[in-house]
Symmetry: C3
Subunit: 140 residues, 3 copies
């Protein structure tokens, strides 16, 4: 079995949903060695998250930002945790709704995703900051 | 280590939540070879999703459909992406809320799930269409 | 490759979000044998869930409970499944929104999580009950 692991730091991105599939694949060189396997991408933060969604039309990503802001509003009267501003607690909630990782099958050295699937970095904070990811690959 | 991978196409199902555990297990023949391991099921689409929930009472699945339609409404005034109709953008949002995959432990050749856990196909589009899944198994 | 699997029963906890990282790590002894690998924690229930979030300030966990109660209310007029009380159907919905498992990279014998990341048991039922988890570890 192969097992490869990579840690990368993404450059700061503004609040919103960002397509990062190409960046992930360019780092995860070992993928070409794997005939059948898996790739997991994990984000080491609790105010940003990862998800898989539509990779072509940028209005999908803008609609995600608007919808999650409505579903998880700032300044809800019941928030106690607000040390770091009005985007703080919503960022934690969005992070758990979307999740800290995505796991994708690998077939013949490539991610076996659908034509329209891409990996999103979901940046829930206002202040731009870099984000650390771990990419793990395993298989035969 | 064993690693097995299967690609299947599910028949078209109407919008809603559908129990597909038996269909998955009947395809994933290699599971009987695995003493301790994992099974991942991945959906290659961005307008349908997979989750694990109650496998006995069909009213749970009907309540899921009603609740997700309320939580992620059609025709929200802030949606820009609506090329394919009013169910288009809600389908993408529901897909990321529920997730593109489920991963389940395998013990002694069987999924080690709780008595009441089943795998749901979450079909978020109105027009029936088949869906492609990848099932990956690994372990010792 | 190493593959280790453990089944544990958590003691009953009251409805809400509870930090269980230390309990998981103390059971998953094999982790120290793994240089590069993965840990999955899976919950064998459909009315409780697992997520990763902020591990330091308990007000985050209290805000989670309040927010999820608002986002997934009790007694919604469209719920049909209510055999076990008003917390029954919301528990199933919250379980699928948050997910039945978390998967974390292992590096040099330890979980490779961010400083502020912890594992939450999300208990969605009113009546305290123990919960069964499976912890799986694999890697080289």
């Amino acid at each position: 079995m192969h097992f490869y692991q990579y840690e990368i730091r993404l450059r700061a991105r503004k609040r919103g949903f960002h397509l990062i599939s190409d960046e992930i694949i360019s780092v995860a060189k070992g993928i070409s060695e794997i005939k059948s396997g898996m790739m997991q991408v994990f984000i080491k933060h609790t105010s940003a998250s990862l998800t898989i969604n539509e990779n072509w039309d940028p209005t999908v990503r803008a609609d995600f930002e608007r919808h999650f802001n409505k579903m998880v509003p700032e300044n809800a009267p019941y928030y106690e945790h607000n040390y770091e501003g009005s985007d703080d607690m919503p960022a934690h909630l969005k992070s758990s709704l979307l999740g800290s990782s995505v796991t994708i099958p690998i077939t013949n050295g490539k991610p076996n995703t659908g034509t329209w699937q891409g990996i999103y970095l979901c940046e829930h904070r206002n202040a731009d900051t870099g984000r650390n990811l771990i990419i793990s690959l395993w298989g035969i």
